[in-house]
Symmetry: C2
Subunit: 215 residues, 2 copies
């Protein structure tokens, strides 16, 4: 049975692959699992039918054989537990890869997401420039630490894992800020993720939704 | 072998149990697993010895038989996979409980954490009151949704799980704001978590660190 995921009918990122369905699409491409995609308008996301699937009215969700999941991190872990390729077999290495999944979502993404929010909802405020600089300082602390950890390695802990997949998608949210330009190791890390054939297929699939909606 | 976790030598919350080691202490108490606690100063957390354990120089970490983990969510999942009591046996229910773990950390905690950050680093800024109100509006969106989902239930999805454990600790960060007063179902939910004997033991253990450091 093919799982069904949900995604934005019209992604606010205009097809740049920054919406969180990209994470699930990429993971499914990595493991060779096709999926159906149900596109949702912003209105439909706030309706009871979707809130029963996703208590916070967001995308993506994941449905398979009566199981309904929300939260991209949880969906990735579910996929990774059922297919080889996203988590190491060794128990300790697997636990560390999962630690990187949580680190991407709970330590690195929050200040990056706040930067996006500041641009969306505070750009007309008189304090915007000063606060953006404060947020970027907080982000740089994380980028410094992440870059120091990564060093010359290709991936965060041995082979490519679901932790790398999430971290690359989180770092991509900084794209338009050019903050990564000061971090060659992290820029190369993101480029390495984007060069994976599974990433390309997932990117093209989400972009096709935007292109179709725009014509 | 008894695992070792790290915690603040002097917690900035003055023993209120808001630091993230509380999540791990509570989980270990739920499953009846003793642990050793290594206390760290803020200086020690930024030293290479600790950064090798935790790339972002934070607490808690978890060490057991050569495995070193960071991120409270990943540590909880590791404990829950090795001991009964924190995740359901049924595969679908287990996946949903894990979804609530990620929801607590990636959807509910970020705006609540930003509120704390705003109070810590922006309270002298002329924009503080206006921005705090904007943040609290964002938090209320999540609390409305969470309260609607919980309804009259005791826990988020069936029996108490690691998802509830994390969500209760996340909501407790709102304590001094009194924002939860407007949400009786969520207040009762947090109180239900705090009434668990395992919670009490964990709370007392972390509080004893603060008390000892203050005398």
């Amino acid at each position: 049975m093919i799982p069904t995921i949900t995604a934005f009918e019209r992604s606010p990122d205009r097809g740049q692959g920054l919406a969180r369905d990209m994470r699930v699409r990429w993971a499914l491409e990595e493991v060779g699992q096709p999926c159906d995609v149900r596109l949702l308008s912003f209105e439909a996301m706030k309706q009871p039918a979707h809130l029963a699937r996703h208590p916070f009215g967001q995308i993506p969700t994941y449905e398979e054989d009566g199981l309904v999941l929300f939260e991209s991190g949880a969906i990735l872990l579910h996929i990774a537990e059922r297919h080889p390729g996203l988590l190491p077999d060794d128990a300790a290495a697997r636990a560390r890869a999962i630690a990187w999944m949580f680190a991407a979502l709970n330590t690195v993404e929050p200040p990056i997401f706040e930067r996006t929010m500041a641009i969306v909802i505070e750009s007309e405020k008189p304090w915007h420039a000063e606060r953006l600089a404060m947020l970027e300082d907080r982000i740089r602390v994380r980028l410094d630490q992440l870059s120091a950890w990564l060093g010359e390695a290709d991936w965060l802990d041995g082979a490519f894992s679901a932790g790398d997949l999430l971290m690359v998608t989180v770092l991509r949210r900084l794209g338009s800020s050019h903050m990564l330009d000061a971090y060659p190791a992290l820029s190369a890390y993101v480029a390495r993720g984007e060069a994976r054939p599974a990433y390309r297929r997932a990117f093209d699939a989400q972009r096709a939704v935007f292109t179709a909606a725009s014509t």
